[in-house]
């Protein structure tokens, strides 16, 4: 089995690193492509033994499982570019936030009647094999495809299948979650430093406290509320601190954060579904580089003067299967 990544950025690098450490696939069986060869992640991928190319078509041809690891607004260009090269064996796994399975299937159905599409939402800690991944299965993907993806993603953390309509909520919670944790550890470390600890030690202890607490919770049957109680001796330091946190509205802040991230994901998806994004919204350099690829012309990616249509399926140059 070969794995390909369209896109060679943070996500591709994190997944490749995780897969490689887990030993679930040899890196020489992985291909990654990107128009930008200067990205630091590209160097890392090469170092890990991944076949790097500037040609998305090459990635498609060399892969069975194809991860779409580009930013959401690039997805339509990529789909138009690789559409003709998709074969029956291919399992397309989109990792793009807010991009629906149906929009991808609609695009690919111009080239193939039953494209096998899955959608996953993962997060950056896959790089240390502590990722949180969910996936939803497309119309033409089989049970074995789900099992295959689950096997890959479970090697780098927790993985489970969900209904597609929950993916936005997952994005808000565990997609963005590591950022919330980084913010928390940074602030905890500030607290430590304020009270006299050296910064490095404070960061180390803050991170370890979160890590340890998470491990306890995952290993325990108990409710986090119960575990919290277990730490709070009567009249002690911790309960005083917790009161401060409650007074600051800590809980509602976190609820609000998850909600904001989820709502924004839905907004972005809505914008995408509107099928209209101004060309200014797309980094010009990226578009130029995409257009420089062999076999890619402005017509095939439907660039029009009045704006770029995200999911235009009425391009007469594309032959239907």
């Amino acid at each position: 089995m070969s794995v390909g990544f369209i896109g060679a950025g943070q996500l591709a690098q994190a997944l490749v690193r995780g897969f490689s450490v887990a030993g679930v696939i040899a890196t020489h069986r992985i291909t990654a492509s990107s128009p930008d060869t200067e990205l630091p992640t590209v160097q890392q991928l090469r170092k890990m033994g991944v076949n790097f190319t500037t040609s998305n078509k090459e990635t498609v041809n060399k892969s069975d499982v194809l991860f779409l690891a580009v930013k959401p607004h690039i997805i339509p260009f990529v789909l138009d570019e690789i559409g003709p090269d998709i074969e029956d064996r291919h399992l397309i796994v989109s990792c793009a936030a807010g991009v629906t399975i149906s929009s991808i299937e609609k695009k690919l159905q111009q080239y193939r009647s039953s494209p096998k599409v899955m959608r996953c939402m993962t997060n950056t800690p896959v790089v240390v094999r502590e990722g949180a991944t969910v996936y939803a299965t497309g119309t033409h993907a089989e049970v074995e495809d789900g099992k295959l993806l689950e096997q890959l993603m479970a090697s780098v953390g927790y993985c489970t299948e969900v209904e597609e309509d929950l993916i936005d909520a997952v994005t808000g919670l565990s997609g963005s979650g590591p950022a919330y944790a980084f913010l928390a550890v940074d602030a905890l470390a500030d607290g430590g430093v304020k009270m006299g600890l050296p910064r490095r030690l404070a960061v180390r202890l803050g991170a370890q406290a979160l890590l340890g607490a998470a491990r306890m919770l995952l290993d325990s049957e108990q409710h986090p509320g119960q575990l919290k109680d277990n730490v709070c001796s009567p009249g002690g330091a911790t309960i005083h601190a917790l009161h401060v946190m409650e007074s600051g509205g800590f809980r509602s802040l976190l609820i609000n954060a998850v909600e904001a991230s989820c709502v924004r994901t839905r907004e972005l998806q809505f914008l995408a579904d509107q099928e209209k994004i101004s060309s200014a919204a797309i980094k010009k350099t990226t578009l130029d580089k995409v257009l420089q690829q062999p076999g890619v012309t402005a017509e095939t990616v439907s660039v029009r003067n009045r704006g770029i249509s995200m999911f235009n399926s009425s391009n007469p140059k594309i032959k239907k299967n």
């Binding site: 509320g225 119960q226 009161h243 409650e246």
Partner: protein, 269 residues
């Protein structure tokens, strides 16, 4: 021959009545309870359940083994000075006066008196009280056990060091009022949304009661019960979010803190 304990109450107010009622639904007979008070105002309800009444505090003390001092805190000194001469080594004196410490009680009574300080709360009236007691210098384990056996039908009975009495006051003495405030607000929310007031109030009180019983009897952590009520994306989690945004948890913690600190202040005067 087995001699049943004789119980006396100095003071005939709500607290005395609530505790007496609780005892009666346990294994105490009305004939073994006597109550004293200066006026006849509150005596009728005791007489209605077969408890004898008197105006003489001395009579109650001399005729009892366990004496409950159930007068208002500012009257305690007066009462104890009066009855001190009748208190023997065999008596168990139980004070329910808020803010009157064991050391004050022991100072007013003869040396070596067996004194217990008890903090009940209002729902003792319906035998759903939360009672915390603390033993004085001469009160032994078995005296605590006697008190427990008398009070077990009044509600939850627990023992602790004296330092916990003020906390208990804040949590459960005043806590009852906090719950009433919450119930009133629940009802008002419903009225705002269109429900008639009297229905809203009766449903609010039943909601508090039902939730309370489930909490007590399930043995589960309240956080666990809360999670169990919250369907994903449902009404409850939306409402809870609003409560969290309003900082309810912190307010409640602070309320218990304020009440406790006030109890401590009052007790030190």
């Amino acid at each position: 021959m087995y001699k049943p304990l004789r119980i006396g109450f100095i003071g005939a107010g709500n607290m005395a009545f609530g505790i007496a009622k609780g005892m009666l639904s346990g294994n105490v007979l009305p004939v073994n309870i006597k109550v004293s008070a200066p006026s006849s105002r509150n005596m009728k309800r005791f007489q209605e359940v077969g408890i004898s009444v008197t105006h003489s505090n001395a009579e109650v003390v001399c005729g009892s083994d366990v004496v409950f001092v159930a007068v208002k805190p500012h009257l305690v000194r007066l009462v104890l000075s009066e009855i001190s001469q009748y208190v023997t080594k065999k008596h168990i004196v139980v004070s329910v006066a808020a803010g009157v410490t064991l050391s004050v009680l022991e100072e007013l009574l003869p040396e070596n008196s067996i004194v217990i300080r008890l903090m009940p709360n209002l729902p003792c009236l319906v035998q759903e009280g939360a009672l915390l007691f603390t033993r004085g210098a001469n009160a032994k384990q078995e005296h605590g056990d006697v008190l427990r056996s008398l009070l077990h039908c009044c509600g939850l009975v627990e023992e602790g060091p004296e330092a916990w009495i003020d906390i208990h006051t804040g949590l459960s003495g005043s806590g009852v009022a906090f719950v009433y405030l919450f119930a009133e607000a629940l009802a008002e929310g419903a009225v705002k949304m269109g429900m008639p007031s009297s229905l809203a109030h009766s449903i609010a009180s039943q909601t508090v009661l039902g939730a309370g019983r489930l909490l007590r009897d399930s043995g589960k952590h309240p956080a666990q019960l809360r999670s169990e009520v919250c369907t994903p994306g449902g009404t409850t989690i939306y409402g809870l979010h609003t409560l969290e945004q309003g900082g309810l948890r912190a307010s409640v913690m602070s309320a218990v803190e304020s009440a406790t600190e006030r109890a401590r202040e009052l007790g030190s005067k």
